[in-house]
Symmetry: C2
Subunit: 357 residues, 2 copies
Amino acid sequence: MQKLNETISKIEKIDFTLAENTQKRLDNLTKPQGSLGRLEELAKQIVEITRNENPPTKNKIIFTMAADHGIANEGVSAYPKEVTAQMVYNFLNGGAGINVLARHINARVVVVDMGVAEKIQKGEIESLYFIDKKIALGTKNMAKGPAMSRQEAVRSIEAGIEVVEEELQNGIDLIGTGDMGIGNTTPSSAIASIITGKPVEDTTGKGTGINNKSLNNKIALIKEAISINRPDPKDAIDVLSKVGGFEIGGLAGIILAAAKNRIPVVIDGFISGAASLIAYQLEPKVKDYMITAHCSVEKGHRVILNYMGLKPLLDLGLRLGEGTGAAMGISIVEASQKILTQMATFQSASVSEGMDE
Amino acid sequence: MQKLNETISKIEKIDFTLAENTQKRLDNLTKPQGSLGRLEELAKQIVEITRNENPPTKNKIIFTMAADHGIANEGVSAYPKEVTAQMVYNFLNGGAGINVLARHINARVVVVDMGVAEKIQKGEIESLYFIDKKIALGTKNMAKGPAMSRQEAVRSIEAGIEVVEEELQNGIDLIGTGDMGIGNTTPSSAIASIITGKPVEDTTGKGTGINNKSLNNKIALIKEAISINRPDPKDAIDVLSKVGGFEIGGLAGIILAAAKNRIPVVIDGFISGAASLIAYQLEPKVKDYMITAHCSVEKGHRVILNYMGLKPLLDLGLRLGEGTGAAMGISIVEASQKILTQMATFQSASVSEGMDE
């Protein structure tokens, strides 16, 4: 708990006074004022977060955190539970969607085992950015009791913080979040419902692609989990321990550590969104350090974004997770930074300025 | 007229039968079916357009076409007319927004003088992909008569076709469209209103950032141009000649040539949208070769997209033109192609498939 408390206490309010000067710089570039819309907003946000007038984007890391879920034994996913571990190997071999999109944007994927239900065989894995932070061999079935102990919940968040701290020595300019865990839309829907106060029906969707019958079963299980565990909506760690997941806790830790270290963090889809909700409940100041990459097809994501007042960059009908949406978003953030630092000014390019009207 | 007719006659209907096989391939990749949303749709479209199962994306070209407009003397822009030529030099020196974003996505910018009001001094320019297709030193004032002759309208479209043909020898895998021309939202609004049948008020916005008084003047001028010239909405060349622009004709030619050569063409914002409307009226089959990069803030763009039934990839509040939105869209198209060709399959990665429900 000490590391978590210390991290939270060191998260500073964003320095919004930097926006004015950045807007002046943007207005002096060879384009009509404001004509690059959200790219200009992003450029300002990155300067505010980093307090660096020319923020670098060289070191881009996507943290893809994996864990298993006791609830997955109840038929909440279209895929069998062993797929979590299989996909971890796929990540480490470079064949998954996140690997392809991370290469596309020249980012590094760091895979973290937060609680996969089997031991990941290392082999030649270590060179490929695999980090073992396994808390347990998956959570317990939340429909029958708490998914994890309060201690494990704290431990999962602190493991996420440690991961960022360990990678800091290699340099981190931009962080993307990502997840893998068969069944993990179920805890995410539970977290979204409890914290936002919206009915479970409004936060629960078909995940990897279940049918209507399975969806009804999933909703009933989430209601059962909430009714049995009675999580306190005002206590994010209680919510995480009762109905959460280890990768969700880990991602909340990544987000808190990003904010503490003034690193912009690009949030992926629904599971990362649930993690951001936990981080936000622990320290609302993290919101300004977050950039919402996209809005997932999974309907609870919109509920989460509305609750925090966040506006996604992209709406491409994605629902894969892994950090795939974050990768697409990072490319836009990087574009915004290049606009700020590489475009010619009216003076340098000898272009006439607009007329005052 | 011969080149234009020949190009149009060689545009084939897209082969939609290829979509089924591509979807099967996508469904066999290690991800839930359909979970990459529009990236999967794009991957299918690129295969259909190119008839290549593994379409390359190495050679990406953004054609930024520049021209001046007689109507610009009537106060329809916040910028003086000489900015068109100044920005051409800025493009050639690599300092404009499109240069920055093209470098970001590893694309080449080809700048085409379609009718800038002054002679572009070549100097060391030729090595930097500058093409001179100047039709005239800007169009005439469309509020007082036709912007150009019918012959010049045909010539501008054919010049666009020639530009693609000339660049084909260097290889083109993906095309982006872009424009530069002080005052060119005015002809674009006129074209949008005439062809879609919507009132001028619905297709006319503030362009580079004029005030309300200037906007009212702009709307009145467009109405005057339509009333004086009486363009035939069913005759796209008549519309282009009466109220168009040389860069708009050139971009229509680029789009037609892209379709003829089965090259996917990523359409930028409002001015490129007006050009795509001209191309679509000449040959509706071009629609399936087009990918709409984004929806511009300029309100007439949405009218154009709705008329053709096109759905933009991005909505980032952009209104710069030059091809900046196209650059952002091309990156997404390229990501979709990499997903199709680089991801592991369930078999190759030994990942269990989803259960039939």
